[in-house]
Point group: C2
Chain length 345, copies 2
């Protein structure tokens, strides 16, 4: 294993067609191709772990967005932890474990300049470079640091509270002295949110959710970290305090939507709340802050994991052939923790 | 005139009932009361000019907002320029002209500590303390300085472009090196927006407005100063560039709305745009910045008026008995320039 001499083909999942609503099997195609060779400055990598994240649904569509869509016939994009099989650069060595953007495939050729070496002896699984120590963890860190800015004694709420972003948001906010409210789907996730240290954990599937939330935050909400959208946002908006901050990093509840929801049109009410409560609502993609703040993040988060003040949970699925079904589940909240595909060992 | 000995009664307009939709005559009541006496630290003022502003519609309702509603039976609130008739404080003298918050009445008693003396010899009418040198001008100044932050070469758009806030936004943004797009209602206002120096002036009443806007901003919009809402905002949203900033200081188009507009529900699309374009949308009330930045504003704006780089226009209505009808017109955009009631001379 890991000896490239024994492997001659690569398996990859490409975008076959653009989904209308929930992605179906027909939107993907699995291909087997000859193992590519690295050119100068590149390395051939064997994928160990593939990250599955909600943003990928956006890349399957050609609607205008912050990132170009995946082209039809192109490999589905995704962050990966891989082992270097062959290198045409001195910057990495055969056998190194690296974080890259290899996509949904068993092997990838990447520019070495785009890779980050991972220390497999650091005391945490290398797959955490896709979760708590990777993009989702950094999204939480950067969104709170640059936009949410929780102050001691303030109340911070987040949905998908047991997911990789939400769980990091809650735990970082608690470390900053905030009271934390975790919102999750179903009793198991609510129980786990309590384990994670959320001061309050609520089930958004409960029929009384909006009332439960109102009761849980008598002093209102100062920061709502928005990664879900939909009905949770509708319930949170009336609870926001004057000068509340809303970092918006995801709206997974609507990613499969094929048309605007039925009326009434709540956009004027949303703008009205923004005005009457002097709200700050700010969309962001973690890449905006990554170059400047990743070193701080890795230092802080590694320390918090080491001293036990941040916990994390991974939901590991075995085999690239499980990626499509796992991804569909992700868009419905079926995963429990950071969803990662173990592609090889 | 100005001799308190000759006056024994004050005329005032109180809130008689809360409006449902557009305010009607029944929502107001005119009363004549005995002239009040100033207590220690107070002054009795004769109102010269009363400012009429869209925010007053909000104060007539008891919906939760940043400011307490006007109580039923209480005098309608409003900024005023007045003459001191009698004073029980050394801080002002009889005959001084002061900026206060006297409300819709011919006389008021105010705490002297809340008044700002106005120099009637400064070369501009004292009524400008209610407009370009007052709250509306400062709203433009503070919203651009703290939230919009236009950079040279960027495009700044604003609606109600001939109004006191919009005209200041456009002219300040131009001074900062931005390209400016003014949106106004009707050919007269569009022509005046061009006079004010807007690089582009568009009529939102035109059937082709959305297309006109698209054509006018091939490079997109970097700052949209939101003081109107409604259909203009719907047309602007698709034109916003990544990382655009949207200071929200008013939504006058919806102030008389009695229910949520018909569907589809555009709130998820709005949140989607905030996410996909990393927008900053921030509601604000100028009071948030007033204590710290008013001195800078008065220095800058006085200079700009003196050297001709900022123009202003007043729409002066004569007589307190005209206030109600003028206010209704304001909510429909019938005023042309800063709407002020001349209450006495």
């Amino acid at each position: 294993m890991g000896q490239s001499g024994q492997v001659t083909t690569s398996t990859r999942i490409v975008l076959a067609s653009r989904p209308h609503g929930e992605p179906t099997d027909d939107n993907f195609r699995t291909e087997h191709v000859e193992l590519p060779e690295p050119a100068d400055g590149e390395a051939l990598l064997q994928t160990l772990y593939l990250s599955l994240d909600p943003y990928m649904r956006g890349r399957m569509s050609d609607a205008k967005s912050y990132a170009a869509p995946v082209e039809i016939g192109a490999v589905m994009v995704g962050a990966t932890v891989s082992r270097v099989l062959r290198t045409a650069s001195d910057a990495v060595s055969e056998g190194d474990i690296v974080l890259g953007y290899g996509g949904w495939q068993s092997h990838s050729v990447e520019k070495v300049a785009h890779l980050r070496r991972i220390d497999p002896g650091a005391g945490v699984p290398v797959s955490t470079a896709l979760g708590v120590l990777g993009m989702p963890g950094f999204t939480a860190y950067a969104g709170l640091r640059n936009i949410g800015r929780p102050q001691p004694g303030e109340t911070v709420a987040v949905a998908a509270a047991t997911g990789p972003v939400g769980s990091a948001v809650g735990q970082i906010a608690r470390l900053k002295g905030a009271r934390t409210v975790g919102i999750a789907g179903g009793p198991d996730k609510v129980a786990y949110a309590k384990e994670l240290g959320f001061d309050v954990a609520l089930d958004h599937r409960s029929e009384t959710f909006a009332d439960d939330l109102k009761e849980a935050v008598p002093g209102g909400i100062d920061v709502y970290f928005e990664n879900v959208g939909g009905a949770v946002w509708d319930a949170v908006l009336p609870r926001l305090n004057p000068f509340a901050r809303v970092p918006v990093c995801g709206l997974v509840a609507g990613y499969n939507a094929t048309s605007l929801p039925e009326g009434p049109n709540r956009a004027p009410a949303l703008m009205g709340a923004i005005l009457s409560k002097s709200l700050l609502v700010r969309g962001f993609i973690q890449t905006e802050f990554a170059a400047e703040q990743t070193p701080d993040f890795l230092r802080d988060m590694t320390g918090w994991i080491a001293d036990g003040s941040v916990q994390y949970r991974e939901d590991i699925v075995d085999g690239l052939d499980q990626a499509i079904e796992a991804f569909r589940g992700l868009l419905k909240g079926r995963n429990f923790g950071k969803l990662v595909v173990r592609v090889s060992e």
